[in-house]
Symmetry: C2
Subunit: 576 residues, 2 copies
Amino acid sequence: MNKWVRVNTCEGTVHVERCSDQELRWGGRNLIAKLLLREVPPTCDPIGRYNKLILSEGLLGDTILATAGRLSIGGKSPLTGGAKESSVGGEAGRKMARLGIKAIIFEDAPADLTPRVLFISKKECRLLEMPELARLAVSETFSRLQERFGDEAGLMCIGPAGEMRLSAAAVAVQGEDGAQVRLAGRGGLGAVLGAKGIKAIVFDDQEAKPAEVYDAKKMREVSRAFSRILLEDPKTENRHKFGTPAVLSLCNELGILPTRNFSSGRFERADDISGETIANLIETRGGEARRGLPCIRGCVIRCANVFADARGRKSVASIQYENIALLGANLNIGEIDEVAELNHLCNEAGIDAIEAGAAIGVAMEAGVLAFGDAEGAKDLLRQVSQGTPLGRIIGSGVTITGKVFGARRVPAVKGQAIPAYDPRALKGIGVTYVTSPMGADHTAGNALETAGAVDPLGTQGQVEVSRRLQLRAAVLDSLGLCLFVRPAFVKDPSLFGRMLHARYGWDLTFEDVQRIGLDVLETEREFNSRAGVSEDFFDVPEFMREEPLPPRNSVYDIPMKEMQGIWNVKPPKGVF
Amino acid sequence: MNKWVRVNTCEGTVHVERCSDQELRWGGRNLIAKLLLREVPPTCDPIGRYNKLILSEGLLGDTILATAGRLSIGGKSPLTGGAKESSVGGEAGRKMARLGIKAIIFEDAPADLTPRVLFISKKECRLLEMPELARLAVSETFSRLQERFGDEAGLMCIGPAGEMRLSAAAVAVQGEDGAQVRLAGRGGLGAVLGAKGIKAIVFDDQEAKPAEVYDAKKMREVSRAFSRILLEDPKTENRHKFGTPAVLSLCNELGILPTRNFSSGRFERADDISGETIANLIETRGGEARRGLPCIRGCVIRCANVFADARGRKSVASIQYENIALLGANLNIGEIDEVAELNHLCNEAGIDAIEAGAAIGVAMEAGVLAFGDAEGAKDLLRQVSQGTPLGRIIGSGVTITGKVFGARRVPAVKGQAIPAYDPRALKGIGVTYVTSPMGADHTAGNALETAGAVDPLGTQGQVEVSRRLQLRAAVLDSLGLCLFVRPAFVKDPSLFGRMLHARYGWDLTFEDVQRIGLDVLETEREFNSRAGVSEDFFDVPEFMREEPLPPRNSVYDIPMKEMQGIWNVKPPKGVF
């Protein structure tokens, strides 16, 4: 994995480069941060020619480790205006790694935005015009690509939202089984790819061989140890059974489940959309319904699912907690089939369901449609794909929706929608929303796991919690592993060094690995600071500091000064 | 003029305060900058409860000087996110000054936005509920207010756009004759007033006496000298005859007239919308058509007009250069009657015609309607008032319109539309757009007047030009005088000190007056820097650095570094 592919989308040229020794040590989120700072003017137009859209495999992406092969997608975000990395599962990343490609960098922008596809196999690397894909939904795009490139190809694409360069547009990756669609949702990176005129990327790894690792025996050993810890962890079992929706009941109990545009943290009909209900329906409905699926081949956690309607026909795959929260409780919609349909419509348009759900919530509060109006919400999402003015507003995300409707209760930090954890009753994650270079992003340091150890309603220790979680997320996103492997590293922090040694022969202490995370955060912060979106200028939305959140009736009250001190917090020794 | 009125719009209370000796020395733009920095959290939500909407009279607002009485309106801008001051003519400011009120500060925000009116007379100062004004157009609002408060009342209000808190919303002030509508257009301050639930402000100065000045005799002398210089200046004559549209032919000749979304600097049908054509039509059509009108009683420049249709019925008053450029050439509309109607629709909705014209230009390029489609443009502006999704997009200004339509050619700096002077062929004004705390605002330092002395296409000396003009604009906006009085101060810089001495007894050198301007700019910059919108993060739009502008075929090429050095440029001695 020492090759880079540079695609000049204006000239239509593709160049394969060998990366330098220094660059070889970058991967995933780390590589994206480094390239952004080195090559992208921080104040550039996110959908202009100076931004770059970067795909990058994590350092362990081409190994046999469970969850390895997640793909980092990055660029300057149309939502936050800062550095963005969005990690996604599915098969494309693994195939890209198998092809020995560490990164693909899309540069410049063409005048003509006729859809093009980047096709990469062992033998070639080229851009194809496929005008027939214009404005096609994600599922239809994947079908057409499969017809042309075969079932074994690794596929990723944007939907109509990305082609329209809407700020909430995501990048979709096909899952392991062909049924699942995984979205690199946060940050609007689909719009950046759309602005480069790239509709899809296809990886054909048929003739590619697995990467040669430094010490294959050790790799097998560490891989076994890693999987064993994961399989022994009760959280894994829970995720396997119920998927990410497993946490919905907990979030409802904690009072952090966004309900009716973040006006409550508890939803009366939470039971109807919970992980248990979903698992139960999957079992009873049968047909195409499935659970406990991997999103990447070889994953031992297998939290993905296929949700099906009453007749057993797939309605969406996978259905996940954040999407259920934002498209369900947040819209006062308690029918899981409606939620699934809304989620599917987001996937088809190729937009982040979190951003879309938050935007529709604001539109509901503004009186555009009523809370609970599932048909109206579906109509809005169809309008996103159609590109009507209202659809484009929603597709531009919650901040622009709020602006256009003159809303004062807009759940966003740094231009990005707050995900499914209200920071008023889980204060540690509020610190992450405000201080993370990623903005309001639950994957950047989610304090939910600490809710048992640190009082989620208290202000004590939250900054330290966020610091630690942000650091760990930055490391995992740079290795190309799923955030759900955390338990293994908590139990045995030496795994990091052993994995990297087996793969590259590097001798890294745990502190060296921590330094990778520090380096990521510092590099992203430097980019953001030059872009004018440093953490000095953002707080949680004003209403969250004033309006108590039922049922805990707490407000967000961690002082800005304290949050801004987060970068002076020293990482703990020996553990994340 | 030593009284301040503080209106707590949440509690519905009105308090009259006496200002301190230090505060007495603040006026207009200066006062707004000081209050923003002292009282408004720089990162607050522009339409939230922590922003303040400030009206302030300039230091010379209550004098007999020509043009005195212009009103500064300010707050944190929904468009730029920074400090904003917009100066406006009309009668309200003069009456406010006559009532001895230096400033009105609207604070906090009510939950219920039922329209309220602030009524101020010599005897009382109170908030009235007038729900019948909800969503009324500006002209209808003025009619209703006139019915209730009489013909002599000084009136200002917002239109439906302000009530909807759309980011391009303006504040309208009735002109001297009741026919004219003057808009404090730039920066979206109408949305800030709308967010406070204030629909209108009424000044009844019937029992108020003129302010006692320090030396009435000297004031009469300096006033006469001032008016004489103005009347002798050929620019005054030109403005009197042709109004601000006088410069359209010059701008077309220079190649800086925004045409078809800033894709050309020259418009083939410029003659049809020029100042000469307008003056001629006003003469030949007769009826309600008039020219050479003052916008404030006592003005000797009198650049205002009433434009009438072919049957002599008023279509818009006043019609001005920037609006003609943005709603005419920029939309490829060469029929002056259509342009007048578009301008009227902007006034009725209560939105900045510059922002609206730029937004429609972007929508035209995005294919929403065709360039030159006057009926379509009118329909869009009607939709602004109606609050349809598309209307709200346009009413949110050019930056949001660009975002929603995924546009890459968006003529804006710091979130605000570039006015009617393309910086590619008038580079000095580009420096102002980028470095002024006001963003892309022609009133903050317009280099057009230097086009004869400094090559507008060259890069040499442009930073110094902008520095000088920004400083002078800041002083004039703090005195409450019109920018068009510049010639008098260029000819006799001692006038400033003499005026302030006659009014207050202060002994100020010319350098002291310059320091007022410096203080304004420094205070605004400090606010902006804390708000995250310092000049470090903004440049002209990328396309303006790359796409040569016909017919001069120049690009904007003043380096960022050079522009950022503007604050190190020392103001010249003795002259502006």
